[in-house]
């Protein structure tokens, strides 16, 4: 088994499992709320339905609106194929480090916001404005928590960071705990989950992501929905990679890959279950409390940085 084939398996797996992950979260939420839920496969059925439907665009929609779904989808997929999920050292992982990964997702967001403004409805502009505002506040917090991690690994390459964590003896680092809390908070915000945004509601005055894609239909909408699901799985994989990478294989042999796959499924499912519990037990924040949440994440990651310098450098 060559590492290139594992790379392809990994990318296809992230793409195909993404709707399942979204379905898993909504099923867990349904069970926690004493409902039966629509089942794990429901997002797949939704996508299939949308791909079959005809696309309708507004009269004055420009090419930005038309091509934005493709750009958003490919940028997200490109980012997903860079993140190692099973194999530590994949051929594509050199292509982009964590900073480039964040920038690829930012590219997707940039075009999504432009598409929101293209039609000229109040909802589109509102979503674009909010999305860009909150992501601007989330980005420094995210990079700060990545900095904390890269300080001990001396690298921003995911492969090197994972190898560093795998090879160093297990110890409790306070800085990592801070970084992890901040990273999870940011991941929740970036994916538009409760308490920042609610992915299941349309036509609420507080919506963000849904407001931008309100005008989309058919395969365009399917691509955007799918990209959002891939992003959720991508962030879960990233958190697993950075904080609990144990089980990932260094060699591309069959048994190693199978074990890594099993452990990855367990870890990601665990993470998504925690997300479902949080979403069930929490209410959505008021819109102007979101900046406080995000600056809270920044402060936590900055504390992580300080604790690294004060507690861990000398020790």
């Amino acid at each position: 088994m060559s590492s290139a084939s594992v790379q392809i398996i990994q990318a296809v797996m992230l793409l195909l499992f993404a709707p399942l992950a979204a379905g898993f979260v909504s099923t867990c939420k349904a069970r926690l709320q004493n409902r039966r839920g629509a089942g794990v496969l429901q997002p797949w059925r939704n996508l299939r339905k949308l791909f079959k439907k005809e696309v309708v665009m507004a009269h004055h929609a420009s090419w930005v609106f038309r091509f934005a779904p493709y750009i958003v989808f490919t940028a997200t997929l490109m980012a997903a194929s860079v993140v190692p999920a099973l194999l530590v050292d994949t051929p594509l992982s050199l292509t982009a480090d964590v900073i480039a990964l964040v920038a690829l997702l930012a590219l997707a967001r940039f075009f999504l916001a432009l598409a929101g403004m293209d039609i000229g409805t109040a909802f589109g502009g509102m979503g674009a404005s909010r999305e860009m505002t909150f992501s601007a506040l989330a980005e420094p917090a995210m990079l700060m928590s990545i900095f904390v991690l890269s300080l001990s690994a001396h690298s921003t390459n995911l492969t090197t960071m994972i190898t560093h964590t795998l090879n160093s003896p297990f110890a409790l680092h306070p800085s990592l705990a801070f970084a992890m809390v901040a990273m999870v908070m940011i991941a929740v915000a970036e994916n538009g989950r409760i308490p920042i945004d609610n992915p299941t509601t349309h036509l609420e005055l507080t919506m963000i992501h849904e407001a931008m894609i309100l005008e989309y239909s058919g395969r365009h909408l399917a691509l955007l929905e799918w990209a959002a699901m891939v992003k959720l799985l991508l962030f879960s994989t990233l958190i697993v990679d950075l904080f609990i990478p144990w089980g990932m294989t260094a060699q591309a042999d069959l048994t190693g890959v199978v074990i890594a796959l099993g452990l990855w499924v367990v870890k990601v499912a665990g993470l998504l279950f925690v997300l479902a519990v949080f979403e069930t037990s929490m209410a959505k924040l008021r819109l102007f409390e979101v900046p406080e949440y995000l600056s809270g994440a920044f402060v936590i990651s900055f504390l992580g940085l300080l604790s690294y310098y004060m507690l861990e450098v000398g020790a």
């Binding site: 004055h60 690829l104 860009m132 001396h154 390459n157 691509l223 310098y309």
Partner: protein
């Protein structure tokens, strides 16, 4: 010598261009000649820069200038790079001007001052002694004043020009001060001597502060940026492109020349880098926050220039800190990042100003609130403007991302430098860089979205027309360069490598090349890597495949009315506009903005029947308000007090003259007697020259001695 000859030829063509109004009077011919000569100048400057970086520079002494001080010119790696930067934007701007100046009445002032302005910038970059440097610096400042006040019939243009002239001269004075210290230490105006001179730490620090504030003022560093958002919007757009794209970079060049080259990394003190880093972080965040709140397209771009200068300063500050703590490789990385961002900013900001000029040309306004939907009327301008927006937002695969990535890397790789304070300052400034980058993305979503997307908000916008081929070509060149610089950093960085070799005596090219041309791997292979070509190729492949798989062949997409929540009367005024887009940020950062908001609700008939709601928001640059106004007030009150002296009769004036002469004579006789008593030469008594190492004794001024002997 190739590069020097090309550079001199560029200067000659520039000088020739200033003569245009003398040679011909027809406006059309003047314009064509101006653009042709400027384009040749740009091309020659590019050639000179490339030759200087690849082959090597040279020295030349012009038999001009003062009798005892001929003009020294020299091309080294640093000046070659900035020549290349000047040329690569000047050429497209010259092509663009051919279209932009068409139909503009009386362009004679432009034909004189634009080449003079370019000559000033070329001269600053080429100069090898302080006198030549200051001479060309002043040519640059003064000629750009006339360009800013080109449309002087408007009051605000004259006011902007005045503020600009004032601040430019303040900057000139401070720079002169730093050169004076270097002159006192070396005893010569030539840069070669200044490099050798030994300066005491105190005087070095004063020279650094003077140079830093002086060049920082000209570059638009916060809080010395007050002139920039006034001057850039009112100049003609081709001039704004040059001012923002090149002139600010010439100030950065001056800073690097004086601080990094003439004083040198050996003189750096630890707080210098900190100060530059703090100024850079402050400029980056303040600039973009203010840019976000502008509704005037060119003013928005001007504030965004402040942000980008901040990013360059963050890179330079990191480089200075790392050089001080003896990490030359990382320092070289930060320096390369800063320089890369300098050329990137020249290209995309030049392109953005040209795009803003195209919009202004076709709609007649700079106010974003009355634009919208221009992507349908001006498809080429929109596409090229979008390229610049993606690049300036720091998104792959364009060039803005590469330089920000390099600066991030040098910040992240920085090992522990003296103390926790210093160590946390570096990641903190990197976080500020991230904040500035993300806010810039928001800012340019707003700029592009409000101007080009949506539906047109006014008559003028709905009748806009696409610009001509000259202007399109002028904008296409920098757009292409943005993509190329974004895709091929591995090929560009070895070309720039001569600069860290010159300033820091280290080379980056080995580690950059380590993984071949496809992967950019600064400092070590395992540490970080980025491959723009693979990302672009992957995205094109995946995107193309998705499109091909999903798009039904031979069917056009059905168009319909937009969804309006069942309300049939949606109009263009219900769109989100520029003010609405940034409302959340205005609320979040209200402590910084301190917006003055007023809401007027008109209910003429009944308390429940609202007929009209008017919302007025006004945001001022608090920094300018708090810092500049007290100074202006003080100067005004002082002038009023002096004013009394101006209104007296002739006897009073005669008395003043008499007392002044008496006072001066007394001063001279006292000095003379002290000198005679101590048997020392007259000028050696002052504090400065005793502290500094004086390499050559200075003669007393001849006229003074003979006058006293009589």
């Amino acid at each position: 010598m190739l590069s020097l000859n090309a550079a001199l030829a560029a200067c000659v063509f520039c000088t020739l261009a200033t003569m245009i109004p003398v040679c011909c009077s027809r406006s059309c011919l003047q314009r064509t000649l101006l653009c042709l000569l400027l384009a040749i100048t740009g091309l020659l400057a590019c050639m000179a820069g490339l030759a200087g970086l690849l082959v090597g520079g040279g020295e030349f002494t012009l038999p001009l200038g003062l009798p005892w001080l001929p003009m020294h010119l020299r091309i080294d790696a640093l000046s070659s790079f900035f020549l290349l930067l000047i040329g690569s934007l000047l050429l497209p701007v010259a092509i663009y001007s051919q279209g932009y100046l068409r139909g503009m009445a009386n362009i004679a002032p432009l034909t004189v001052f634009m080449p003079l302005f370019v000559l000033g910038m070329l001269g600053v970059v080429l100069s090898d002694d302080a006198f030549t440097f200051m001479l060309f610096w002043e040519i640059m400042s003064v000629s750009s004043y006339f360009l800013v006040t080109f449309e002087h019939q408007h009051v605000e243009n004259r006011k902007a020009g005045y503020i600009y002239l004032l601040m430019a001269h303040l900057a000139g004075l401070l720079i002169l001060g730093s050169f004076a210290i270097l002159y006192a230490a070396s005893g010569s105006f030539e840069f070669a001597a200044m490099r050798e001179a030994v300066i005491s730490p105190l005087w070095a620090a004063i020279a650094f502060l003077l140079a830093g504030v002086g060049f920082g003022t000209k570059a638009g560093m916060v809080p010395m940026h007050g002139w920039l958002p006034e001057a850039h919007p009112v100049a003609p757009s081709n001039v704004s492109a040059l001012m923002s794209g090149i002139m600010l970079k010439v100030a950065i060049f001056g800073f690097i020349r004086v601080v990094w080259d003439l004083m040198g990394p050996g003189d750096f003190q630890w707080w210098w880098g900190m100060l530059v880093l703090a100024a850079g972080s402050g400029s980056a965040v303040t600039g973009v926050l203010l840019a976000l709140q502008q509704n005037d397209l060119k003013r928005l771009l001007a504030y965004s220039s402040i942000e980008n200068i901040g990013i360059i300063l963050i890179g330079l500050g990191l480089g200075m800190l790392l050089a001080r703590f003896e990490y030359p490789m990382l320092s070289a990385l930060a320096l390369i990042g800063a320089l890369y961002h300098a050329i990137n900013h020249a290209l995309f900001k030049g392109l953005l100003f040209m795009g803003a000029g195209a919009v202004l040309h076709s709609t007649g306004t700079r106010n974003m609130e009355v634009m919208g939907g221009l992507i349908h009327r001006m498809p080429w301008t929109a596409a090229l403007f979008l390229v610049a927006c993606i690049a300036i937002a720091g998104l792959p695969p364009f060039n803005g991302f590469v330089s920000e990535w390099l600066i991030f890397q040098s910040a992240l790789m920085a090992p522990q430098l003296g103390g926790t304070m210093l160590s946390t300052m570096i990641p903190f400034s990197a976080a500020m860089l991230a904040l500035a980058g993300a806010l810039a993305a928001a800012c340019f979503v707003k700029a592009f979205g409000v101007v080009f997307l949506g539906r047109s908000r006014s008559e003028a916008a709905s009748h806009a027309h696409e610009v001509d081929h000259w202007m399109k070509l002028g904008m296409a060149i920098p757009a292409l360069l943005c993509l190329l610089l974004g895709l091929s950093p591995v090929l560009v960085i070895p070309v720039l490598d001569a600069i860290p070799q010159l300033l820091l005596h280290t080379s980056l090219s080995d580690s950059v090349h380590a993984h071949g041309w496809l992967w950019l791997t600064p400092v070590g292979t395992g540490r970080a890597s980025y491959s723009a070509p693979i990302i672009l190729a992957g995205m094109l492949l995946l995107g193309g495949l998705t499109f091909w798989l999903l798009h039904p062949k031979g069917r056009t997409i059905r168009r319909s009315v937009m969804w309006s929540c069942g309300n049939p009367h949606l109009n263009a005024r219900m769109q989100y506009n520029a003010t609405a887009f940034t409302q959340p940020l205005r609320r979040i950062f209200s402590g910084i903005y301190q917006p003055e908001e007023q809401t007027h609700i008109a209910r003429p008939f009944h308390t429940l029947l609202t007929q009209q709601v008017r919302y007025i928001v006004h945001i001022q640059d608090m920094m300018v308000q708090r810092l500049y106004q007290p100074v202006a007030d003080y100067v005004l009150s002082l002038a009023k007090r002096l004013d009394r002296l101006h209104q007296q009769d002739i006897r009073a004036y005669l008395a003043y003259t008499f007392y002044t002469i008496l006072f001066l004579l007394a001063l001279l006789s006292i000095k003379q007697s002290i000198a005679a008593y101590h048997f020392v030469p007259l000028t050696q008594g002052n504090a400065l020259s005793t502290q500094l190492s004086v390499t050559q004794p200075r003669l007393p001024v001849a006229g003074l001695v003979t006058g006293l002997a009589v």
